[in-house]
């Protein structure tokens, strides 16, 4: 019997049409567009809590909110509120606005602000710097200034064992590490305690997170809240060289990335895909104990596409495509100046010209702000 293929659904995302299978989320549809055409990478909504390999993740950080301007072909009414693209399923004929909608970008800016008000600006001493999703998110969508004048919250330090360093002040409560522990380990011992802005990742009573796969919480953490103790203060990531490698491991897939300083392996992580996600989690033996090149078979340099300054000049490249509505608006509304006009002494004309010059200056300052 011939296999019946599910009817594909059509979605228009920022003016680009794409067909996806039923059950696909808006986020996945946007990723599909970017995977087909690399230059559209900037269209994909940012994800701070959503993590595809963890099916229960998403919906919390609100970084990926988008506007649905038509719900479906059947019911083309717009959705009343912005929706989280990571967990909202595509309907046939849905029209979604992301970088083309000023309200979406404005909201995103405020999400950056919310996430940063209690985040310590300790990037210079944070091991995550350079591969931190909050850095990327703030850079791409945030504002250079903060309006927050109050004290930042702090937490009592707790030790969660020999491998993983917990910096609770940096946590943005994405819940990924909790879901990871639920999904790939037996007997989770850490979780989210307390509530509201006092919520914290903790073991409650000081207890080591100790199992063969505990190290994976480091890779899923979008910020520097959970970092590798064996890599602590060893090097800035952008000075290291990542190489893909593998070994026969009886516990995990054995497929990793080795991070070199010179000839020395200073860190082992799982491999991350284009979206910074780990599909094949690795065991603690591979991660923490196999730090000799001789332990591994090398597969060649890691291709880093996004989410890391290691991609060399990524930020400069992205600057051009940075989705900024104000900039786009200015570009479409700015009229070229007609320089062929004759010199005049007429006051009315001079006043008019000066207004035009002001506009030009404004446009320049807009550009400066955006850079």
């Amino acid at each position: 019997m011939e296999e019946v293929k599910p009817q594909l659904l059509k979605i228009t995302f920022d003016g680009i049409e794409v067909e996806v299978e039923p059950g696909t989320t808006i986020m996945q549809a946007a990723r599909k567009i970017a995977e087909a055409d690399d230059s559209q990478g900037h269209l994909v909504p940012p994800a701070m809590c959503y993590y595809k390999p963890l099916p229960v993740s998403g919906g919390k950080c609100r970084a990926c909110l988008v506007r649905v301007s038509a719900g479906s072909a059947k019911d083309p009414r717009p959705m009343p509120k912005l929706v989280p693209s990571c967990i909202t399923q595509v309907q046939d004929g849905m029209v979604v606005e992301n970088t083309t909608n000023p309200a979406v970008l404005d909201t995103r800016k405020s999400i950056v602000e919310f996430l940063l008000i209690n985040h310590p600006l300790d990037c210079p001493i944070c091991d995550q710097a350079g591969e931190c999703h909050l850095q990327d998110f703030a850079f791409e969508h945030g504002s250079v200034k903060t309006r927050y004048e109050e004290e930042r919250r702090t937490f009592d330090k707790i030790d969660i064992g020999p491998h993983v360093q917990l910096h609770m002040t940096r946590c943005i409560l994405c819940y990924r590490c909790v879901y990871t522990a639920d999904q790939i380990t037996e007997g989770r011992v850490h979780g989210v305690m307390n509530r509201g802005d006092a919520s914290e990742i903790s073991t409650y009573i000081e207890k080591a997170i100790d199992n063969d796969f505990s190290g994976n919480v480091i890779d899923v953490c979008p910020v520097g809240a959970l970092t590798d103790k064996t890599f602590r203060f060893k090097n800035r990531v952008w000075f290291t060289k990542p190489e893909d490698a593998h070994r026969d491991c009886d516990k995990c897939c054995g497929k990793v990335t080795l991070w070199y300083r010179g000839d020395e392996v200073i860190r082992v992580t799982a491999r991350k895909n284009t979206w910074g996600e780990v599909n094949d989690f690795i065991c603690n033996t591979c991660r923490f104990e196999k730090k000799q090149t001789s332990d591994w078979v090398l597969d060649g340099p890691t291709k880093v596409k996004r989410s890391s300054v290691i991609s060399a000049n990524k930020y400069r490249k992205d600057l051009v495509a940075k989705p900024d509505f104000a900039l786009k608006l200015a570009a479409t509304q700015f009229k070229p100046i007609d320089d062929s006009r004759p010199y005049t002494t007429d006051e009315e004309t001079i006043r008019h010209q000066s207004i035009e010059n002001n506009d030009k200056a404004n446009h320049r300052s807009l550009l400066a702000n955006n850079n």
Binding site: I111, I117, E150, I172, G196, D197
Partner: protein, 446 residues
Amino acid sequence: MARKILTEHINVPGIETFDVYRKQGGYTAVEKAIKTMTPEEVVEEAKKSGVRGRGGAGFPMGMKWGFLAKPEGVPRYLVCNADESEPGTFKDHHLMKCIPHLLIEGMIISSFALGANKSFIYVRGELMYVIRILEKAIAEAKAQGFLGKNILGSGYDLELVVQPGGGAYICGEETALLESLEGKRGNPRNKPPFPAVKGLYQSPTVVNNVESISNMPWIINNGGDAYATIGIGRSTGTKLISASGHIQKPGVYEIELGVSVEEFLNSDEYCGGVRKGHYLKALVAGGSSVPILPANLITKTAAGEDRLMTYESLSDGGFATGTMLGSGGFIVFDETACIVRNTWNFSRFYHHESCGQCSPCREGTGWMEKVLHRIEHGHGSMHDIDLLVDISKKIEGNTICPLGDAAAWPVASAIRHFRDEFVWHITHPQEATQPGAVYMGEMALV
């Protein structure tokens, strides 16, 4: 005297016992429903009555029942939301404490209508004494054959479980309530899926407020159509209003929807007016979450019409000049109340009660509280006012559940209607931080 549906017998001595309640006509609606009606007919009566969710959202109860998915072989649940925690609201507390059998009778009828064989009443843990009252009443009803196996020989089984909360306002949100009922943190779920499809234990579930369900016995006895004749337009039936603040007679009152705000506030049957020697300054009409109204917009709408106690009239003018009926928490402020202090107080409440799951609410509620605290304590600056408005806008509509909106509205509306008072706190920090200081136009009342 206005018609009473819920509180008609509330003052009868011993009404909390089965026998007295039964003598007042109690449980006849259960008999009628189970013996003479089909579940579909009961749902139909609820639809006809037009009764709207009394927890705050005002969604028609019959319609909500109609959404319940009914897949074969999957249990369905009815959960009563008795997690009443909205500041200014204490009607369910009063109702359950005084006349517990009314809710139980409503639960039996509603569970029968929905085909639920196990139903829950989730009561906030602070009301442990009310939980004991309910449990006692359930035991009585069970002993009389109105609960348990084969109710009244009909073959219908129902078990009623009273579940205590642990102290969290957020569990009044229906999906947070379900999480809590499953023994988890009260984190609201992302929707869809809605509880009608995947609710308690991933099964189809209806969550209704205490007052909504308590209307069912009357609706069954008298018919949905009769219920719909009470009230005005789409605001049918009666509503319990919890009146508090600066009034002569705080308490719980049952009104027919459509009574004017003026009458409710001033007549001796209800609030009895603002306390003696004082005058009205502001009103929060539907629990702390709804926008606050200044004196000139309370009894009249912006268009000059009488403001009525209905869903529609209270929201007349949108948020610019209107508010919401909400849960019916009617908080009256006279001229001695400081709006800035009260806004900070409410803001602190939402900060304290945010579950912390989504970033706008987790971070935004704390931020607003801190800025308001600063203004209230004489350290504010003028741009703080616009900052507050902006933060509230950035929270509103962007969160997983309505707590974000509930935190944003009181702040935005207080600034909308009482901006002068905020400005005065900033420009006159010395006067404003005196104990009991209140802005009175150009002067301060200390």
